[in-house]
């Protein structure tokens, strides 16, 4: 195996083997958007170990506090560990400071972990949350550990195929139906073109009313949410 993390003679080194042999990768399509009443998070459900699909119904949308969620991409192990640590910090924050953490607080803790350990981690995370004071917010935290506040964010290997789609169809202040259609349309394209993305489309709609999960199945051409699970 090539030594990783070192510069080549030409001063350029692209680390293609950032995963260990057999490590589980979230070759992924994830996104989160702002809409009229809050935010919507969306993700595919494929987890791969090389060419093998280790899990076809993965849940890449992870809750870190009552009204703050994240979309995970990169190493499954790394992003699960980071999300667990953030969840712990936020629950401690709520009890020691007598108030619920804001999306900003969550984003700051995610960034602190991902930037300080950037050499060890392979994690691209999108953070989205809702609170009455700030409304819905979307933060993108890509590989290097920089933090970007955005109207919407896309991430993972599949996102490269949908930059054009999103740029064309994006509108600010969409309705919930419009937002769901946008996320579903974009992720369907990402799943179609990206070999490392697939399975079902999962969504979480975060508003003043709380978090509601959606599930869209490929054998129904991702049409309709089907039977709705109860609000989380």
């Amino acid at each position: 195996m090539q030594p990783t993390g070192m510069l080549g003679e030409d001063g350029i080194h692209v680390d293609m083997n950032h995963l260990k042999k057999g490590e589980v990768n979230l070759g992924t399509s994830i996104m989160a958007i702002n809409f009229k009443d809050g935010v919507i998070l969306g993700a595919d459900s494929r987890t791969t170990t090389g060419a093998y699909i280790a899990n076809r119904v993965t849940d890449k949308l992870t809750q870190v506090s009552d009204t703050i969620w994240c979309c995970r991409s990169g190493s499954a192990a790394d992003t699960q560990a980071v999300a667990d640590i953030v969840q712990h910090h936020l629950s401690m924050y709520a009890v020691t400071n007598d108030e619920q953490p804001t999306t900003q607080t969550a984003a700051a803790i995610f960034q602190d972990l991902c930037y300080d350990n950037k050499d060890q981690l392979s994690a691209g995370i999108i953070i989205a949350g809702y609170d009455h004071r700030h409304g819905g917010q979307v933060y993108s935290l890509p590989l290097g550990g920089s933090l970007h506040k955005q109207s919407y964010a896309i991430g993972g290997s599949g996102s490269t195929y949908i930059y054009g789609y999103c740029d064309s169809y994006w509108k600010e202040n969409m309705t919930e139906e419009g937002g769901i259609a946008f996320v579903k349309g974009a992720l369907s394209e990402a799943i179609k073109w990206d070999g490392s993305s697939g399975g079902v489309i999962r969504m979480v709609v975060l508003t003043a009313k709380g978090a509601v999960r959606h599930l869209y199945l490929p054998d129904q051409a991702y049409e309709g949410p089907g039977k709705q699970p109860k609000a989380v």
């Binding site: 009455h132 819905g136 933090l147 506040k149 003043a208």
Partner: protein, 293 residues
């Protein structure tokens, strides 16, 4: 004191049989001799004022400030042992900086008070340390608007965040007082030091709980209260040190700053005038008494 000779006051962290910690009570005595410090929570900001007793004519006037800035939006003043106050400020600054490192945002005033309160309380527990010989007043302003994550890039949707509830009240002025025991409460008006009794009764007259006193009025009241409280120890000279923290739309834009010289001097002029007027009233009352005889 009856406790002298019983031995229960020789070490910190030792209870007397009736459940008192004498070392903490002696620390309170140290505070009772310090220059008066006052904090007022107004509707649009906080004022902090201090009666700084001049210990030597060789010291430069208006130098050697005693009210410290802990973070951009928080100020601290203490009464009692000055070096203990300095150490308290060092710790408060460390806590504020630590918060910024983790959360990339300014520390809420109540969280700062909570953290330094725990630190002060820890100094009542161990025999290797003594309690703080100070009572500290912490005043600050928590932003009423959205605060971006420090160093964040971008600003989200141009139409504003979805689902945001308009008209909610957030942030505002906050005032806390921390005692040598580590106990702390939030206050509308706080006073400590030698003239605290006078100052407290003056603060009570202001009906601060109504939330109608403006910051500008607060500055004048704070100056007057320090002058009234100084009356009893008229022999000593003092300087009035005063800082404030306003709302984002006010004069300091949410920052802790020194009250500008002109405003302070005007407040002092009014304070002296009000004292002179009171003296005149008293003399008149005496005359009235005589006429009644």
């Amino acid at each position: 004191m009856t406790s002298i000779g019983t031995g229960y006051d020789l070490s910190n962290s030792v209870f007397s049989p009736d459940g008192r910690n004498f070392q903490v009570e002696y620390a309170v005595k140290a505070v009772e001799n310090g220059g008066t410090a006052v904090g007022i929570r107004c509707k649009d900001g906080v004022v902090i004022a201090l009666e700084k007793l001049v210990t030597s004519k060789l010291m430069k006037p208006n130098a050697n400030k005693r009210i410290a800035t802990v973070d951009r939006h928080i100020g601290v003043v203490s009464s009692g042992l000055v070096p203990d106050g300095r150490h308290f400020v060092v710790r408060a600054r460390a806590e504020a900086a630590e918060w910024r490192k983790i959360y990339k945002a300014p520390i809420p005033v109540h969280s700062l008070a909570d953290r330094v309160g725990q630190y002060v309380q820890a100094h009542t527990l161990y025999s290797s340390v003594r309690p703080f010989g100070i009572t500290a007043i912490v005043g600050g302003w928590d932003s009423e608007t959205e605060v971006p994550v420090d160093g964040q890039v971008g600003s989200g949707p141009s139409t504003g965040a979805g689902g945001k509830k308009e008209g909610g009240k957030h942030g505002g002025p906050f005032l806390y007082m921390i005692e040598p025991s580590g106990l702390f409460w939030g206050y509308y008006g706080a006073a400590t030091g030698k003239g605290r009794q006078t100052a407290k009764s003056e603060l009570e007259k202001l009906d601060l709980a109504a939330g109608t006193l403006t910051l500008e009025q607060g500055v004048k009241e704070a100056a007057r209260i320090i002058y009234v409280a100084h009356e009893d120890s008229k022999d000593k000279e003092f300087e009035l040190e005063m800082t404030w923290i306003s709302s984002l739309s006010g004069p300091t834009k949410g920052r802790h700053e020194e009250v500008p010289k002109e405003i302070r001097e005007e407040a002092e002029r009014l304070a002296k005038k009000s004292l002179d007027d009171d003296d005149d009233d008293e003399e008149e009352e005496k005359k009235d008494d005589k006429m009644e005889e």
